[in-house]
Every structure is written in structure tokens, then in C-alpha cells.
């Protein structure tokens, strides 16, 4: 966040900004957030884009995050080919299974859940947090 000019209090917490947008804040707390976003361009940007995003989301216009996975397409092609070229039925079927597994494990949310579940099962919550910690550091290490 940018440095705050004199007179602006510390940034409101996420829950406070969300409360302002959902109109659940009243009186002094509402005024405090409003005075803050008038002066803090970061928080104003965040509040405005959150307002626009939720509007789109509720109208069902949000970005469709489901992308057709290349492994899924290849698995389907391989499955179809296994019937076309019956000499290589077993090979194509094996490829279908492998590509299918790759498709499932490639989904990021699946990956995340599997990691959390395994860590939790093996080492309890501490281990799960450790895994999430390393997941957290993953993208940043590429910077």
C-alpha cells in the first residue's frame, strides 16, 4: 500500500471495507471508511473494483474460469482413436487413462485440496500449514 498522507488513519481492515460495500456499517464506522477512501487512492480503487466485480458476479457475468484443459481434449481424442485403430486399442486406452489422470491432477484446486488433505492426514494441521506455506511461496519464488 502507498504511504498514507498525514491525517489519514491506517487502512481499514478487509472486513470493514466489505462491510461498507454491503451497507452493514453505520454511523461513525461508515464515516471513518468513507473519509479514508476519499484520501487513500489504493483503498478507493479496491472498493470500486470490488463493487464492480461483485455486481458482475451476481449478474453472472464473471470471468468464466473454467478453461478447456488440453489433457482432457487429448484424452477424448485418444479414447475415440482406440476404437478407430483397434490394433492399438490397449495403447490408446492406456494413453487415455494417463491423460485423464494428468487432467485431474492438473486442476489447481484439486492439487491444492489433495496437498492439504495428505498433509493433514500425515502430519496434522501444522503440516498442512507448512504445505500451504510452501504453496504460498511457490509463485513468488519465480519473480
Amino acid at each position: 500500500m502507498t504511504e498514507l498522507k498525514q491525517g489519514i488513519r491506517a487502512h481499514p481492515k478487509e472486513a470493514e471495507l466489505a462491510g461498507y460495500l454491503s451497507n452493514t456499517l453505520t454511523g461513525e464506522s461508515k464515516k471513518r471508511v468513507e473519509d479514508h477512501i476519499a484520501c487513500c487512492n489504493d483503498c478507493l480503487d479496491n472498493v470500486i473494483s470490488a463493487h464492480e466485480s461483485v455486481k458482475e458476479f451476481k449478474k453472472g457475468k464473471g470471468i468464466a474460469m473454467k478453461k478447456v484443459n488440453i489433457y482432457l481434449i487429448l484424452a477424448i481424442i485418444s479414447f475415440v482413436l482406440s476404437f478407430v485403430f483397434q490394433h492399438y486399442f490397449a495403447q490408446f486406452l492406456t494413453a487415455t487413462v494417463l491423460l485423464g489422470i494428468k487432467w485431474i491432477t492438473d486442476a489447481k484446486s484439486t492439487k491444492m485440496l489433495v496437498m492439504i488433505y495428505e498433509a493433514w492426514k500425515n502430519g496434522g494441521e501444522k503440516e498442512a500449514s507448512r504445505i500451504l506455506n510452501s504453496l504460498d511461496k511457490g509463485p513468488k519464488s519465480r519473480l
Binding site: 466489505a18 484520501c39 470500486i48 470490488a50 466485480s53 500449514s129 500451504l132 509463485p139
Partner: protein, 198 residues
């Protein structure tokens, strides 16, 4: 109906119920995508799907790791909270990338369109045509906006920088359209006065 399920979903997520986590991830992933994209668009950044995916993963791990769900005050509708969290995470992600830093930290006046700028600059003032004069003018515009009283400042920023119409500002702030109109009119007059050459 889904909204009504949110408090139960949060409760289950707090108990580290993996099925609930899976539902939460599925339900709010598209909102997170949209929020990241909308926030970055404010700075003219078009993030790649790889970047957005990284940020999305950061957000869920942050919620899990830091037990952030407990901080939610309005469990009946967590969409605003998710959107705010995503916007912050998007900016933090790009602030840590040196090459993009300048884009995220642009001066206020850079984001005002020419038409809107003409509305606040006094008539008869020559428009700057070299880099130095433009930078000087931008600095004066920024300072003049920041010097306005809070309510006028908020409304003029929504109008000039966020391209909001009077009725949208009125709806956002929960005030009558006429109030917005008079506040913005007053703010424009003050800005014209402040930007006059002495």
C-alpha cells in the same frame, strides 16, 4: 439460496472440512478472477491467466493459513470480502514485481481522461505540450484534488478517475443524485480556482 448457505459453509471451512473448502473454492473462483482482473485494469495491467492463477492460489492459501475466515463480520454475504481480499492480493503481487511497480503507482492525474481534465482546467490556460510542463500540471492537479474536503474529494475522484456517472455515484454513496450534482459542481469550481495561473 446459495447466499443462505454461506454462514454454514464458513463454519464448516473454519472446522477445516475439506468438502466445504472445495465448495468455497469452486463457488468463488470466478469472483476472484473477475476481482483480480478489474483491479489490475485500473492500472492498465492486463494479467496473464498464469499470473491470475498464481494470485488465486495465494488468496486461498492465505485464507487457510491465516484463518482469515474468522475475521468476516457479515457471513450472510462474503462476496464483497472475497473481492476486497482479491484486489489487495493482485496489487501486492504486482508491487513485488519491479518492472510493474511504476504501473501500479501511477499519479492520480495520469488516470484522468482529456475530456474530464478540460472540465476542471480554467479556460484560456494553454495545455502543456512538453514533458516537464505536463508533469508540473499533473502535480498541481493532484494537489488541488487532494486539498478538497473529504466528501467533494470522494465524489470528484469517482467522477474523474473512475468514470462514474452522477446516478452511479449517488447509488454507491446512498445519497440523492441532486446532492452528487451540487458537490461535483462545487468541487469543479474549486479546482478551476486552484489551477488558475497566478
Amino acid at each position: 439460496m446459495e447466499e443462505k448457505n454461506d454462514p454454514y459453509l464458513i463454519e464448516s471451512c473454519l472446522k477445516k472440512d475439506l468438502t466445504a473448502w472445495s465448495i468455497l473454492i469452486k463457488k468463488y473462483s470466478s469472483l476472484i478472477y473477475t476481482s483480480i482482473d478489474n483491479r489490475l485494469k485500473k492500472y492498465g495491467i492486463s494479467a496473464s491467466s498464469h499470473d491470475i492463477e498464481d494470485i488465486r492460489q495465494d488468496i486461498f492459501s492465505d485464507i487457510w493459513k491465516n484463518g482469515k475466515l474468522i475475521t468476516i463480520t457479515n457471513r450472510a454475504d462474503i462476496s464483497y470480502w472475497i473481492a476486497i481480499l482479491s484486489g489487495n492480493a493482485a496489487v501486492e503481487h504486482f508491487r513485488s514485481k519491479e518492472a510493474r511497480q511504476s504501473q501500479v503507482n501511477v499519479p492520480l492525474s495520469h488516470r484522468i481522461g482529456q475530456k474530464e481534465l478540460d472540465e476542471i482546467l480554467p479556460s484560456g490556460i494553454p495545455r502543456p505540450n512538453d514533458e516537464l510542463a505536463r508533469a508540473e500540471m499533473e502535480e498541481r492537479v493532484d494537489a488541488a484534488i487532494e486539498a478538497l474536503p473529504e466528501r467533494e474529494k470522494l465524489m470528484i475522484k469517482l467522477y474523474l478517475i473512475h468514470d462514474k456517472k452522477y446516478h452511479e455515484i449517488a447509488e454507491f454513496l446512498g445519497v440523492p443524485k441532486g446532492t452528487v450534482s451540487s458537490y461535483i459542481k462545487r468541487a469543479k469550481e474549486k479546482l478551476k480556482e486552484a489551477l488558475k495561473d497566478d
